[in-house]
Amino acid sequence: MMRISLCEAFLEVIILTTDLHLKSVEELAPLLESKTLSPVELTKAILDFAEESQPKINAYMAFYREEALAQSKKIENEILQGQYKGMYHGIPMALKDNLYFKDKITTMSSKIHKDFVSDYDATVVEKLRDAGVIFTGKLSMHEYAWGITNNNPHYGPVRNPWDLDKIPGGSSGGSGAAVAAGASVASLGTDTAGSIRIPSSACGIVGLKPTHGRVSKYGCYPLAWSLDHIGPMTKTVKDAAGLLEVISGFDHRDPTCIDVPTDNYVQQLSGNIKDLVIGINEEYFFKDVDADIEKAVRASIQSLVDQGAKVEVVRLPSLQYAEWAELVTSLSEAAAIHHSDLQKRPQDFGDDIRLLFELGELPSAVDYLQAQQVRRQIKQEFTEIFTQIDVLITPTLPVVASTIGDDFAELNGKKVDLIDNIIRFTGPSNLTGLPALSVPCGFKGNLPIGLQIIGPAFKEGRILNVGYALEQTNPLKNRKPNIFANI
């Protein structure tokens, strides 16, 4: 009897510590805390897989193998001495390459900044270090975060782990591909028009854009100051909740950071959504959507209704100007940041972003200011609807991931402009600054579909709980990409 249970226990440990790269933080953390798994072993497994997968998906800009292994030894000692700090202690992670690491190169996946070394850590990096995260490297991105394909002219395209011919979405495409494939247990992305949620949707992972001001942007190279956000990109909703707990909080060094109390987001994941009121906006968020995406999103909403939620249809008329306001604001702010380089060394930008910077020189001051007026109207309409509903649910994207190199997407048999369409449903939450979560909700063929949950300001706990309720009932939640399937 004793022998059998020892065997069973041994087998359980083997199962728990096999395919470490596929495991989520919520699966790994108890193994680290109980000392069943060493952070050294875990870090080595993630780095081995990341290096092996690099020729396939090209997610990394740089590997920090030696430092990561040295750091994992130090963290192993801390845990052995009973100093376990929490969910992210001993978790290996790589971050998007626009977040500054002290004395390390941060390239923004650009040619111009290829040798840029920061003399300080970004606030989020500092917070992750304090939580005991082990940094395995930096991840590729669309150059200067100004695009959604991650087809980078200087460092090559990042490939979608679900189909290597497809884009991972962007601009945090390296983060999306790495987390989906298992080359990073979790990651951070940045989001100006959807750059966390787009690759999260395209790669089948969870992506959270927190409320503007919830997470400090200090030490993040800007794309457009008033629209930029930093947030978690993870395998599960619980991982995102835990990561938000680590990185959120007021920071006086970021002028847009807001001094509001943070929450225990993991504790709020009850999965109970009884009497939750879900808002649906048909005119904007369900117009011109791929039929399979629409079907998957509506089916997910029905599954929430089956769990006790109610649905209310809401109207948001000002959204018809959201694309214009988003484009004018982002183009103008980005052009201001890169104005000098556009004058002096335009040839050093990739062609696609050079075009966007040139375009950003065209709006007048009146255009920019009117865009801010529109933005305020949109914010007010959202404030009003959140007196009637608890969350607004939309598809994250109207299309699935397109083929690398294409500048169009397929939408119900028609070719449509890729960039205009892909940011259509994510952009409004950058204008309003409201929190928005993308969670996987199905597949079109082999390509993931994401659903977006938008909430009132600083109600990240609420949208995470709705995402959690969906995740628990998603029959496809254990489906994983296999990038080596065709070898």
Binding site: P255, P346, L355, E358, L362, Q370, R376
Partner: protein, 61 residues
Amino acid sequence: MSLSIQQLLENKGITPKPEHLELLKTRWEGIQSLRSHLEGIAIDDADIAVRSIPGGDHLDN
């Protein structure tokens, strides 16, 4: 007087890539059409809500 996109950019010391000129024109027209005349939205006296905080970046309690 209306300036071409090329003249407008050159006045700012920016030399657009020649292959971009046609695309810039199309894209800019596309953005303008999204704007339309801002009909159906009350922005005439909408305050853009940019705050200038005396003494620093944050309101200290």
